[in-house]
Structure formats: structure tokens, C-alpha cells
């Protein structure tokens, strides 16, 4: 049976094969246990580092492979086939690393990127606060200049890999009167004075990823930790998210594919009324819709990622589309997979209940799907105003 040909280069296929091997050999055998124990996947992070995956998007001069958004998506999709909590931990390091890559000084890049590329140090991205989620301009963490230092005060919330990562790129207000234009990005390191971690959150799913508060209490960091210039923090965060969002779409595709595989496998072997349940049209139609939507999402994510890699400007709209469509799809496909497995699907002894619990976060993090619709809607309004 023919598969859609996405015309991958030999190198891209290598990335797919390697990420798939990690998913099958290292992630799938332990995913249920990691989920149950809410355990951070350090061993798998080490495997990924040894396999060079942390360096995919980082320039060769810093020990990476200088690959683009597309190759990152290819890796994320395959890893997500294993477990999206593990994959989120991996992806979060890129989310935290991109601001340094995009806006860091040469000195900052030389200092941080080689360790990030080698997977020696994990990175986390700190934007969200209790009162600043979708409305990122509501950030209350402040950064004040004091001689050769910046002094940070405030609390970041729900930060992926909080406590485990060693490098944090965070956004704080340097001028509250300017709203979003008063936000600035900084690099904070684990161990900086006045920097600590709050409680580890307990979640509905995504349990193998660590989600914690970052607490800044008179936290003093050297002057040279500022990323870019004062007031660029919000733009920086948006640019970072524009590059990262197709990756969340790719994670959704990998997760949905895993759920479909489980559903078809089960439907072929489960006998009811004397025949495999896949012979019933009601189920065939569900599976057909799942498979078609997955392929449509994959095609969308791939083509948008490739467009971004061409250096296209103003990608906020298409980037949002890649995440929006694929993650809504993944929620539906994983829910349907549970339905197809019926009572077994609801049990922890089968993997689809975890997939469904995990899928929900995809519609929420890195921009809720409602905010993404705003982004797309506002872009349409702008586009048509010019016509």
C-alpha cells in the first residue's frame, strides 16, 4: 500500500529513523512507568544527547547540525510516537534555546549553545505567570538594574523542566508603564543567588515532564545576561513561539499516529459477534477519518515547517495553523482510539488512555487554540485590509 511521499532527503530519513529507534527501544518500554511515577526521564534525555538530537537546530560552529524547523518536526513526530511527555521535555529545551540562538550575542551563544547542543544542560523557557497566560503582557516579574547586575523579582508558573533544566530564558518587565514593550528577556542559571523552584505540579497527563514554578527573590544576575535589548522581550517570545509551534503540531501528529496504530491493531484482533470488530462499518469509518485527518495534519505541518525554513517572514499565522489543526486533530483521534478499544481503552493496561490524557495539553500549551485562532483571525484582518 502506498504511503504519501514527502520527498525526504537521505539525511532527513536518517533523523526519522534515529528518532523512531529511540521511541521504540527507549521510550515505549518505560512510558507507562514514567507516567505512573511522575518520573523525569533523565535516562532517555541522556540517550537523546548521545544520539545528537539536542543539536539538530543549532549551528555547526556550536556543535550542532544547523537543521531547520522541518527536521526538528521530523524528530519530534517520531519521539511523540513513543510518549509526548518525554518529547515535551526534549522540545522545551529547544524552546528555551531558540531565544539564545535568535537573539543572543556571540559571547552568549559561545557560552551556552555548545552545552545545549551536546545535551549536557537542559534549557527551559519561562514566560507564563499566574496572571499572565494567554495575555502575556500581564507579566508581573520585574527586572531592575543595579550596578553591574539585574535584580529579578517575581514567580513564573507551569514552567516545563523547571528544577531539572540548568539554563532558563525568561521574560520580565523592565518598564511596567510600556506594557508589552516594557518586557525584556534574560538568561538565568540554576544556582543564581535568589533563584529557586516552587512546587512540582501534579497534572492530568504529561506526567513524565516536570512542571514547576520559578521563584525569583531579589535574584541577582550579571548585566550580560540580558538577551537582546531592553523592551524586546515580548517580540522575542513571539518569534520563538512562531518557530516552535509547528513542532507542537508534529508532536500531535506522532501521538495521533500512535493512537491510530493501537486502534487498528486492536480492532483487527477483537472478536465480537463472531468477527473482528474492524469488519463493522461503524468502526471502519471512524478509523478512516482518523487516518485521513492524521495525514492531512502531517502534510500541513511539514509544508508549513518547510516554508518557515525558506526564511519566510511573518509566519505567525501559518505557524499557528500548524499547531491548531494538528492538536485539535490529536485530541479527537486519541479520544476515538479510546472509544474503539472500549472498556479496555479506558484501562491503564492499554496505552490509549494515557494518550488521550496527554493529548489535552497540546490544545493548551504554547498558545491555547483559542489564542491561535485570534492570531490567525487578526492576520486575516490585516491581510484583507491591504487588498
Amino acid at each position: 500500500m502506498a504511503h504519501v511521499n514527502y520527498f525526504l532527503t537521505e539525511e532527513q530519513q536518517m533523523i526519522v529513523d534515529l528518532a523512531r529507534q529511540i521511541a521504540v527501544e527507549k521510550i515505549i518500554p518505560v512510558r507507562a512507568q514514567l507516567d505512573e511515577n511522575e518520573e523525569f526521564p533523565w535516562d532517555i534525555m541522556k540517550d537523546m544527547a548521545q544520539a545528537d538530537l539536542f543539536g539538530l537546530y543549532i549551528p555547526e560552529e556550536y556543535g550542532g547540525f544547523a537543521k531547520g524547523c522541518f527536521e526538528n518536526c521530523l524528530a519530534l513526530e517520531q519521539l511523540a510516537y513513543g510518549c509526548i511527555a518525554v518529547t515535551t521535555t526534549f522540545a522545551a529545551s529547544a524552546l528555551g534555546g531558540y531565544p539564545i540562538l535568535l537573539f543572543g550575542s556571540d559571547e552568549q551563544k559561545a557560552r551556552y549553545l555548545p552545552d545545549i547542543a551536546a545535551g549536557k544542560r537542559l534549557v527551559a523557557f519561562g514566560l507564563t505567570e499566574a496572571n499572565a497566560g494567554s495575555d502575556a503582557a500581564g507579566i508581573q516579574t520585574t527586572a531592575v538594574e543595579d550596578g553591574d547586575h539585574w535584580v529579578l523579582n517575581g514567580t513564573k508558573q507551569w514552567i516545563t523542566s523547571g528544577g531539572e533544566a540548568e539554563i532558563y530564558t525568561i521574560v520580565a518587565m523592565t518598564n511596567k508603564n510600556k506594557g508589552a514593550r516594557g518586557a525584556t528577556s534574560f538568561i538565568v542559571e540554576k544556582g543564581d543567588p535568589g533563584f529557586s523552584f516552587g512546587k512540582k505540579e501534579r497534572k492530568m497527563g504529561l506526567n513524565a515532564s516536570s512542571t514547576r514554578e520559578l521563584v525569583f527573590n531579589e535574584c541577582r544576575i550579571p548585566k550580560d545576561r540580558i538577551l537582546g535589548r531592553k523592551g524586546q522581550g515580548f517580540i522575542m517570545a513571539m518569534r520563538t513561539l512562531d518557530i516552535a509551534r509547528p513542532g507542537i503540531g508534529a508532536i500531535a501528529v506522532g501521538l495521533a499516529q500512535a493512537a491510530l496504530d493501537e486502534a487498528v491493531k486492536y480492532a483487527r484482533q477483537r472478536i465480537q459477534f463472531g468477527q473482528p470488530i474492524i469488519s463493522f462499518q461503524a468502526l471502519q469509518h471512524m478509523l478512516a477519518d482518523m487516518a485521513t485527518k492524521i495525514e492531512a495534519s502531517r502534510a500541513l505541518v511539514y509544508s508549513i515547517a518547510r516554508t518557515i525554513d525558506e526564511g519566510t517572514k511573518d509566519t505567525a499565522k501559518i505557524s499557528a495553523m500548524a499547531k491548531l489543526f494538528a492538536t485539535d486533530m490529536a485530541m479527537q483521534v486519541t479520544t476515538d482510539a479510546v472509544q474503539i478499544l472500549g472498556g479496555y481503552g479506558y484501562m491503564k493496561s492499554y496505552p490509549v488512555e494515557k494518550m488521550m490524557r496527554d493529548a489535552k495539553i497540546l490544545q493548551i500549551y504554547e498558545g491555547t487554540n483559542q489564542i491561535l485562532r485570534n492570531v490567525i483571525g487578526q492576520a486575516l484582518n490585516k491581510e484583507y485590509a491591504k487588498k
Binding site: E10, E11, M14, I15, D17, L18, Q21, I22, E25, K26, D47, Q50, A51, D52, L53, G55, L56, F65
Partner: protein, 262 residues
């Protein structure tokens, strides 16, 4: 530390099928993979290299497609791979194979350590490692599941698993080890390794290149003659034993005796 790892390409045990009429393996459509034990020999080499430096050369005797096994070894971290391939090598038993491998290792020059998997899962003889050591005139230890190198960089402490337990042994290099799966957990390939392996040229050494004597290689150099092969058939029968526990045990023991098991 100069290390040679010998690997063999075998049919993938997950997909292998038999032709019951001809009594042979069906090779068409069956993926060829690196013999599972050999991954552990490779990993042992990588770990020694990580600590002591040096070079890892991987050898494989086989048909041209065995190049893929060598490339996979390169993607895992081996420095170079050499394929020993010649129509004249065909039909080799372990006697001819060890001769061919020994010629290649002699050609490579001084070697500190030769590593092999305990056995290949197709032939299951476990003879190539020991045979090769004898040909090379170096000591060997089989079935190793723990090893460490002492400070002198030459002496190894080894744990060899035997049927009753294990032996703790000391061995001085140059030497040959065959290793068990419990020795280590093989690493994954890296992206850098895969890229390097894709571009790598695998030299092919034939009989002439090795200076191998014609009577010593391939079918002619083999002491083993395969007279016939057959696929074992398994007959499943079920019999319910009746009576008290004692009677059932007695009946079971007599069945075992009839079957020659006891």
C-alpha cells in the same frame, strides 16, 4: 588501545522463515541484522575506547551486503570497518572462518584486544571466538559478563559465567574475549555517526589481499561437511493424567522415562 571487533550479519530472528521441504532458511525478504551478541562486543569496545582511547576496527566476513552491518557499526562509533568478501570464502565453517579472520587481523598489525559476541544466532557454534584466538596465538576468555582494566592498562579482570556460577579471571592483553548480552547495554547510533557511516568507504579485502592459502578458506578449507539439513518439527500432544497425585506423578515419571528425558 587497539581493538578489533568481529561481527556477523545474520537473518533477523523476528522475520526469519524456513523452507520445510528443502530444509533451509528462506533468505529472500528477510532482513539481515548484526548478530545480537555482537552489539555487546561493540559496546564493550566503545566503553574501553571512551576510557582508554585508541581505535576500534570492525571486521566482518560475508557477502557484499554485509557492508551494511559494518556501516551500522560505524554509526554506533567504530573508527573503521573492513569487509572480508570473496566468492572463495563461501561455504566456510568455523575452521575456515577463523583462518580468514586471523589473516585479516595479522594484516592490521598489532592488536591489544579482539572482541566477539558469545556466538552467532544462526550457526550457534560459539567456536569462532576461541578458534580465532588459537589461530592468533593469544589467550582468550569466553562468556564474559563483567570486565575491568587495571591501572597498568594491560591486565584485565573478568567475570566468566559458567554452568555452576562464575569464575573471576585475570588476563593479560593481547587477548580475545567473547561476551554475553548481560555485559552491557548497547548504545544507540548517533546522528553524527550515521552521517559519517553514510559517506564512509568500506574497504573490501579478498583472498588475494589477505594472502590466504586456497586450501584454507571457504568450503575447501572447511572440516565440516553439511550432509543434510532439516527443519525440526514440533508435535504437540495432550494427555490428561488421572488418579491421585501420587499416581499422576508416577505416570508422569514413567512417561519421561519412555521419552528418554529421565
Amino acid at each position: 588501545m587497539n581493538i578489533v571487533v568481529c561481527i556477523k550479519q545474520v537473518p533477523d530472528a523476528k522475520t526469519v522463515r524456513f523452507d520445510t521441504e528443502k530444509g533451509t532458511l528462506v533468505r529472500e525478504g528477510v532482513e539481515a541484522v548484526i548478530n545480537p551478541f555482537d552489539f555487546h562486543a561493540l559496546e564493550a569496545g566503545f566503553q574501553l575506547k571512551d576510557t582508554y582511547g585508541g581505535e576500534i576496527t570492525v571486521l566482518s566476513m560475508g557477502p557484499p551486503q554485509a557492508e551494511n552491518a559494518l556501516k551500522e557499526a560505524l554509526s554506533l562509533g567504530a573508527d573503521k570497518g573492513i569487509l572480508l568478501s570473496d566468492r572463495a570464502f563461501a561455504g566456510a565453517d568455523t575452521l575456515a572462518t577463523t583462518y580468514t579472520l586471523a589473516k585479516a587481523i595479522e594484516k592490521l598489525g598489532p592488536v591489544d584486544l579482539v572482541l566477539c559476541g558469545k556466538q552467532a544466532i544462526d550457526g550457534d557454534t560459539a567456536q569462532v571466538g576461541p578458534g580465532l584466538a588459537v589461530r592468533l596465538g593469544i589467550p582468550y576468555v569466553t562468556c564474559v559478563n563483567a570486565l575491568s582494566v587495571l591501572d597498568d592498562g594491560k591486565t584485565m579482570h573478568l567475570r566468566r559465567i559458567n554452568e555452576d556460577g562464575y569464575d573471576m579471571l585475570e588476563l593479560e592483553m593481547p587477548a580475545l574475549l567473547t561476551v554475553l548480552a548481560s555485559l552491557n547495554t548497547p548504545r544507540l547510533p548517533s546522528l553524527k555517526g550515521k552521517m559519517r557511516a553514510r559517506k564512509a568507504e568500506i574497504p573490501v579485502w579478498d583472498a588475494r589481499e589477505l594472502g590466504a592459502k586456497p586450501g584454507m578458506i571457504g568450503l575447501e578449507g572447511s572440516a565440516t561437511q553439511v550432509v543434510s539439513t532439516s527443519v525440526p518439527t514440533f508435535e504437540a500432544r495432550r494427555e490428561m493424567l488421572e488418579g491421585s497425585s501420587e499416581e499422576q506423578v508416577e505416570a508422569l515419571v514413567s512417561r519421561f522415562k519412555e521419552a528418554g528425558i529421565l
